[in-house]
Symmetry: C2
């Protein structure tokens, strides 16, 4: 166990000042909470203000051989929040690195520090009246933009695969050296914030899902706001249509027509997005009876599978043409599809009843969620977090904090080939495991890249129900192992399933270990994080 | 100087067999030739057949502390060809690793070994009657696909930025360990060839423009062939229109309308692409008189700047809409623009005269180069290399070999922000330096990514003209230093300008050195390559 004496604390206080070294037990208790049961403790919270202070903390930690666990905003909900991976640690909390360092409207770039949140950046772009938008996250707007990119999280819009749309990092290495990457290496380089690869070996990838450095600054690319934005939502009940639908969606994505990440959600996941668990109707059961399922489907216009998407167009003719291409490719497989555009918004009074009758959808609610306040064009009203409270007996508070609110939430994220038969097989398999453990078999398919799908199976529960922490962990572990065995390798890990990396080839593990040893001889930076 | 005794050669022969260890002086002389003056010598050529033999060669080289210089197909023309960077070396020639390991039409992926050439892959896809296409290179079809990707070369089509469209590497580390990356790390992973990042730190970037490993296998993404392909070419003479044109091209690219890399070439570069130097007319002068320039412009329908582009569409309506968007955005700045599509091809007899009159372009030649046999949809007839023979007194042979043919050719490749005022300033500056040294100021702008341009200034000459090797080197060095000083940092280096890396920040150089020391303690793998 990590012991902290006054002398050690004083050394960190001499770097950061006493206001920024926290040892109050309430703060430490909360920082040691995740959305599932964990063991490791945060022993103190260090809040540096800049890269120099990050560097000084790392140098001192090396001297003391004392593990440091960095978080940007600390919102890694469902994966372990702020709880350290490799035993008790000091938390290196980067929230004070919250400056927006540079912004270029013309080129669509913004350079931010690690503590800048999605909400802060969205607000900044609104103030600038910017015609560029950030890729809004799938998670809470209070999450860090850089933290999400480093976890290889994704968002929405043409720049969904966040790590693919960043450019140039400032990284503090485990022994304290400050490193610039890409063209940022060259003082005065005019392409530093516009050209990703720089010259010479490109090291940025090694600092994602890793414990090889603390990223303190990064440039993010912003997409242009379309003049002719279209979104659409749809559902299907006939399972025979599911695999061909997915194949056609892949083809639309490969063709560059569907350029955003889009979700396809099963009945349970969609229901969660729509509100709280129907305790009365479902009688508290985890898996609904067929009767309840049918009733909820009809009542809320939810299908066995439910999707949405968006088109980014620049003229009426282009919008019409692309809409036709999407319609031709997918509508034969659907029970309902509803397109939303400026015309729909302007004529909503006339269209409301016809839409309801034809599609079952509530037009006002759809316009609100998918056209006006939509993550597809960078607007994030925090809708993504709502589903997490599905099993809580109390409603979601105004400022949700999943750790503090004792929400039970575990992500299991296998990567699937974007191919109908694989999606069918993998979702069947995952659903059966979740049901077997008595959890709602809720599944989301996040179609981030052209050839692969980031599937999310969420084990969602209430940590205040005795025994459910253990039951949930058992389900998540079984789901992890089953999906791995079937070849649906996980693409993002929780603090407790890093051990799947033991299944990786020896060469790659040796490579990682050699680099870790060279950069962090005392293994003080986030030991156990994405390593065996 | 590296000395090779019989015992050493025998050790390599025991690994590779005597047929695959070459020491004939003709072969070594040729391998020690580049397209400019070089000093270092290839002392023997090793030709392993697979990753295991590559590994054995590296292990032996470590024991002997003997430098090994790997090449895939060895066609790094204009950057140093096969000539080693850091003193005399053994050449590790990967041409025998020439298997196409896997191909998936449905998902648009192909897995190749390091020796597979663009021509081989193109031929393979033709045989398969594939509806997917590789990004055709800007260089010779005899170049290696993997070699080009590792140098972060680019091609044409929606997947132009080649390194951004690969997935999973097999790498032999300098001490001989074989490593898989991405999801290839997990035996049986179904997403190994479809999902780029894998799980955990992503190391692939560190093996590009580097000397940290020998990449022996890689998966390449293939783009879908459009059902409604459109290309276009244009030119402008009014220099006041140049900067706004470039800004509008960037916006079209950011909007996802122009998805391919496209070239914008100045008068000289365009002329080179069109054929040999007009010795008679130009009187042998490097820079033409205004009269000659005007005459050639008119005669060949070449402008001060000349561009081309392509649209990848899937319906008549989409094609029309996108064409209109391009036309509206750029034609106000142009002297001429010509669109080519299926209709143009079918009606070429009727259109020929009208096109000539309206645009000055020769329709048949344009159709041939930009619509039928076009790199925009993966067809490469080797047109890219023609310009290199511009200054030779002899015509390009049927199988061009720039090293053997003593073509003088040096690339200088600054990265520019994709912004009119920068492009204007950088091309003016580069042109003035090239003219000052008495070379044709030929410049190509390769619009590969949304925010940056890969500019190529080519110093092209005849190595058989006494003194021109020195003169060309002086020009290339001056151009390199001048562009660096102006902030237009180079994005790809020749064997002689790696020293610009000394201008990089200390932290990044230390990081690279630490990793090199850890992976290659004897510095035997390509010493001096993209390192100081």
């Amino acid at each position: 166990m990590l012991t902290l004496n006054d002398q050690v604390l004083d050394s960190f206080i001499s770097i950061l000042g006493s206001d920024h070294v926290l040892v109050e037990s309430a703060a430490l208790d909360l920082a040691s909470q995740a959305t599932y049961a964990t063991q490791n403790r945060v022993r103190a919270i260090l809040r540096p203000a800049n890269a120099e202070e990050v560097s000084a903390c790392l140098r001192l930690a090396q001297q003391l051989k004392m593990p440091l666990y960095p978080v940007s905003a600390g919102k890694n909900w469902g994966y372990g929040s702020r709880v350290p991976t490799g035993g008790d640690s000091l938390l290196l909390d980067l929230r004070r690195l919250n400056r927006i360092v540079d912004f270029c409207e013309e080129m669509g770039t913004v350079t931010v520090e690690a503590g800048v949140s999605f909400a802060q950046l969205e607000h900044f772009l609104e103030e600038q009246n910017s015609q560029r938008f950030m890729s809004a996250p799938g998670t809470t707007p209070s999450a860090s933009v850089i933290g999400n990119a480093l976890e290889r999280g994704w968002g929405f819009g043409p720049y969904s695969d966040r790590f693919d749309f960043m450019c140039g990092m400032q990284v503090v290495l485990p022994q304290g050296e400050v490193v610039e990457t890409g063209m940022e290496r060259f003082s005065g380089s005019k392409s530093a914030r516009f050209f990703r690869w720089g010259v010479g070996p490109w090291f940025d990838g090694m600092f994602t899902q890793s414990n090889l450095g603390v990223v303190t600054r990064m440039t993010i690319f912003l997409a242009p706001k379309p003049t002719h934005f279209i979104s659409f939502l749809y559902r299907l009940n006939n399972l025979e249509h599911f695999a061909p639908l997915m194949d056609n969606l892949r083809e639309l994505k490969m063709r560059g027509i569907l350029r955003t990440n889009f979700k396809v959600q099963n009945f349970y996941r969609k229901l969660m997005d729509r509100g709280a668990y129907p305790w009365e109707e479902a009688g508290g059961q985890w898996c609904f009876t067929p009767e309840v399922e049918e009733r909820k489907k009809k009542e809320l216009a939810v299908g066995t599978w439910n999707g949405a998407g968006a088109l980014y167009c620049w003229s009426d003719a282009q919008a019409t043409a692309e809409r036709e291409l999407v319609e031709a490719a997918i509508s034969p497989y659907l029970d309902s599809i509803l397109f939303l555009d400026r015309d729909t918004l302007e004529r909503k009074e006339q269209l409301r009843d016809e839409v309801k009758e034809r599609t079952g959808y509530n037009l006002d609610s759809c316009l609100h969620r998918y056209y006006v306040n939509t993550r597809f064009i960078g607007v994030d009203k925090g809708l993504g977090v709502g589903g997490a409270y599905w099993r809580k007996r109390t409603p979601m508070p105004e400022v949700p904090d999943l750790d503090q609110d004792r929400v039970g939430f575990i992500w299991v994220d296998p990567i699937l080939p974007f191919r109908g038969r694989d999606v069918q097989a993998a979702t069947d398999l995952a659903g059966s495991i979740m049901s077997k453990h008595g959890f709602d078999p809720n599944i989301g398919l996040n179609c981030v890249t052209e050839r692969s799908i980031f599937m999310t199976g969420a084990v969602i529960y209430d940590r205040d129900v005795a025994g459910d922490d253990e039951r949930a962990m058992g389900c998540a572990q079984d789901l992890t192992q089953t999906m791995m065995k079937a070849g649906y390798t996980l693409g993002r890990l929780t603090t407790f399933n890093m051990n799947i990396l033991e299944q990786a080839d020896k060469g790659s593990l040796d490579l990682q270990r050699t680099i870790k040893d060279a950069l962090d001889p005392n293994h003080i930076l986030a030991p156990g994080r994405y390593e065996i």
